[in-house]
């Protein structure tokens, strides 16, 4: 993990879990696996706070612990990785996706789970039902059953999964009651490496939960934040039969969904809506049969695709064949032909598609930063692999002086590499070929690092902006609070306007400008993350094929 990643992780941790967790987290990131004693010594934070922050990190899956790495009886070691912490950046997208797929209920379930790291099904269902009831009109409420159905659906489609049970290192744990541990889970041997959630057979099995009733509306509607609801959920202490089974969000599954969506929308942009629907159908058909890391989907015959197409599209068989041929011939290579049987066998080339999308991203970065003519040189080098300076000038049809300038700028930015090939062993420049080339993978990695840096800078800027006008923000918050309490107590309108006027017009303007800036910065963070996702998937796909 790079310095940029650690910096970004630190900022994310600080924003979401506070300074203490940030200190502990970045220390763990920088120094690798460490035990509690070392951690306290090296960070200089009090024992209690370190323990708490480790609890928070483990609760949110950002930290894993193993014991007995250096022989039996050695202290528990804690380890964390950038990957999981960087996911915080993508939280809005997970929630939004859940909303588009499963409506408001799904949205709230994912939101709650992301906020709290992991929860049992019963408490999630209760909290969500309470929150939904809160937003409904008076006299109506949300049934627990409805929410549990949505929950089960999310589990069935693997968007949620069980947290892996803790590996018991020492058998003499008399302090924990043995019963509430997950029934039927295999006793994992101590020596196994970290268990992945998928390695447990019950990973996607919904326990039988006895939950009846409806979401409760809070009586004191003064501040309706969910925290009180959570407290309430804890208060009624009857058991629901799922104690000890906690659920977490399965990020991998979301990423597969994002990847498929990226491919579909790319096809829609490149060709047309109909072809994107064909690709969507192909992806949906192979969702179950293809492993997440496969280079391409299992071959599908044209007949099968035709049968699975939703009838509403009105695509006739000959037209489908034409579309498929078109997709195969497209230089983006999203769809490939795997054979002739069954009217032609077709696959979706996942990894090729990701590589091509990443390439397109690189090209557009060069285009937006250095202009379209530099982008022409960049594309030329991508296509022709190695070119001499003279050839670049000729092929790109750009005057020599300008082409040289652009090429050197790209070279200095590390977007283009230079390869020397001497004719004689002395590397004399007059007898050496200088070949320019673009290496897609390293360049993509560099861009990824730049993206991390960008997001970190955006966050830093946002913190700076809000720090600058901290006084103003506090004032407006206070006035809002006063207004709310006045309204609740039924004050007269004159009184309200009087309080409102405590914020002067220029202050209002300032606040408005600040809001605009912060929105822009936040939005930019979200959108940079889309690029990060694409390049991350590309980089990890190359790692799994080689």
């Amino acid at each position: 993990m790079s310095a940029q990643e650690v910096r970004l992780c630190g900022l994310l941790l600080q924003e979401h879990f506070g300074e203490v967790v940030e200190k502990v987290g970045t220390h763990l990131l920088k120094s690798g696996a460490q035990n509690l004693r070392m951690l306290i010594h090296e960070t200089g934070i009090s024992l209690d706070l370190v323990k708490k922050s480790l609890c928070v990190l483990v609760q949110h899956g950002a930290c894993v612990f193993t014991s007995g790495r250096k022989g039996p009886g050695s202290p528990t070691e804690y380890r964390t990785g950038c990957d999981r912490i960087l996911r915080i950046l993508r939280y809005p997208r997970y929630i939004y996706t859940a909303k588009t797929l499963y409506g408001d209920t799904g949205e709230l379930i994912i939101e709650e789970l992301l906020q709290r790291g992991h929860m049992t099904m019963s408490s999630t269902v209760k909290t969500v039902a309470d929150r939904l009831t809160q937003n409904m009109e008076e006299g109506r409420s949300m049934d627990y059953n409805e929410v549990s159905n949505a929950f089960s659906k999310l589990v069935e489609t693997h968007f949620l999964q069980r947290c892996p049970p803790m590996v018991k290192a020492r058998p003499k744990d008399s302090a924990t009651p043995a019963a509430p541990l997950i029934p039927g889970a295999p006793a994992a041997p101590v020596s196994t490496p970290l268990p992945t959630p998928e390695s447990f057979p019950d990973c996607y099995k919904v326990p039988h939960v006895t939950l009846a009733g409806r979401g409760k509306r809070q009586l004191s509607s003064e501040d309706g934040d969910d925290q009180k609801n959570a407290k309430k959920a804890k208060m009624d202490s009857q058991t629901h039969g799922d104690e000890g089974i906690c659920w977490q969000v399965n990020f991998e599954r979301f990423h597969l969904h994002f990847r498929d969506q990226a491919i579909i929308s790319a096809v829609a942009n490149k060709l047309d809506q109909t072809s994107s629907e064909i690709v969507r159908t192909m992806l949906r058909m192979s969702e179950v049969t293809t492993s997440p890391t496969a280079t391409c989907t299992k071959p599908l015959s044209a007949n099968e695709i035709f049968r699975s197409l939703p009838t509403s599209y009105n695509i006739l068989r000959p037209i489908l064949d034409q579309y498929l041929t078109l997709l195969v011939d497209d230089p983006m290579e999203f769809v490939g032909k795997a054979g002739e049987s069954g009217g032609g066998m077709y696959v979706v080339n996942m990894h090729r598609a990701l590589a091509n999308l990443a390439r397109a991203t690189l090209e557009s970065v060069v285009q937006e930063r250095f202009g379209s003519r530099s982008a022409r040189i960049f594309r030329l080098l991508l296509r022709k692999r190695h070119l001499e300076q003279k050839q670049v000038e000729d092929f790109a049809m750009i005057p020599a002086k300008e082409a040289k300038d652009m090429l050197y700028t790209l070279l200095s930015q590390n977007l283009v590499q230079l390869q020397e090939i001497p004719k004689t062993p002395d590397y004399a420049p007059s007898r050496t070929f200088y070949l320019y080339t673009v290496n897609q993978l390293p360049t993509a990695r560099m861009l990824l690092q730049n993206c991390y840096k960008t997001v970190a800078n955006l966050i830093e800027r946002r913190l700076y902006e809000s720090k600058e006008s901290k006084r103003l923000l506090e004032k407006s918050q206070r006035i809002e609070a006063i207004l709310a309490s006045l309204q609740a107590s039924g004050a007269e309108p004159e009184q309200l306007t009087e309080v409102e006027e405590m914020i002067t017009a220029p202050e209002k303007q300032q606040l408005e400008a600040l809001r605009l800036h912060i929105n822009k910065l936040d939005s930019a963070e979200n959108q940079v993350d889309e690029t990060i996702f694409l390049i991350e998937s590309y980089v990890s796909s190359t790692a799994s094929t080689s």
């Binding site: 509690l36 010594h41 939280y91 009180k228």
Partner: protein
């Protein structure tokens, strides 16, 4: 490269052959790059749309909520000189802090809060520690009644039992705490000595000498 004059003929070949003529070399660099350099091309505007707006709202809401959850830990050094109005909210959030009891089945035993905590945790926790089991039960039932009225703190019983469990690791932890205190002292010493040296720094430093020499 011995025997060659300084700065002359640094290359063994004709530079012209590389296409670098006189005047085509870039200017020498003076100083570091500017912090906010001018860019040749304006950045493309951000995507705007319903989806983006919604994600933006989600992001801001998420951030706001996460900062109010007990998972958000701050340094407990809020001893401000002047008591401010906002202090009241801070206290509120600190009380919430104590309310979070994780599922210890998923966490290592050593992370459980210990029984004795004289320094770190003021307020409700400290009280419950001293009360004996029997008293606390009576107290709890009373508290439960109170909780129904004004939303009290229901988790005390959980914490109580967990603290009992933590007994085993206690010794180790106390040791750790002692260790820690030493640490703090050492740091203070270091800082003091650093300040002593700092006063003399201005007069005899290298920088000043250099400056004089150039005049």
């Amino acid at each position: 490269m011995a025997g060659r004059g300084r700065g002359v003929g640094a290359f063994t070949f004709n530079i012209e052959a590389l296409g670098i003529g006189r005047g085509s070399m870039p200017d020498a660099r003076v100083g570091p790059n500017p912090l906010f350099p001018n860019i040749d091309f304006k950045p493309v505007p951000l995507k705007r749309g319903e989806e983006e707006e919604y994600m933006l709202a989600l992001k801001q809401e998420m951030r706001g909520t996460m900062q109010q959850l007990p998972h958000h830990i701050k340094f407990p050094n809020n001893k401000a000189e002047v008591e401010r109005y906002t202090e009241r909210y801070l206290k509120q959030s600190q009380i919430d802090d104590a309310n979070w009891t994780p599922d210890w089945n998923f966490l290592p035993k050593e992370l459980m809060p210990q029984k004795k905590k004289p320094l770190v945790k003021p307020g409700p926790k400290k009280k419950t520690v001293k009360i004996s089991q029997k008293d606390s039960e009576a107290m709890l039932s009373k508290l439960d009644e109170l909780a129904k009225k004004d939303d009290g703190n229901p988790e005390k019983s959980d914490e109580e039992t967990e603290k009992k469990k933590g007994n085993e690791e206690e010794e180790e932890e106390i040791e750790a705490e002692e260790y820690e205190e030493e640490d703090v002292e050492e740091e203070n010493d270091y800082i003091d000595s650093y300040f002593d040296n700092g006063e003399e720094f201005g007069a005899g430093s290298d920088e000043n000498m250099d400056a004089e020499a150039t005049y």
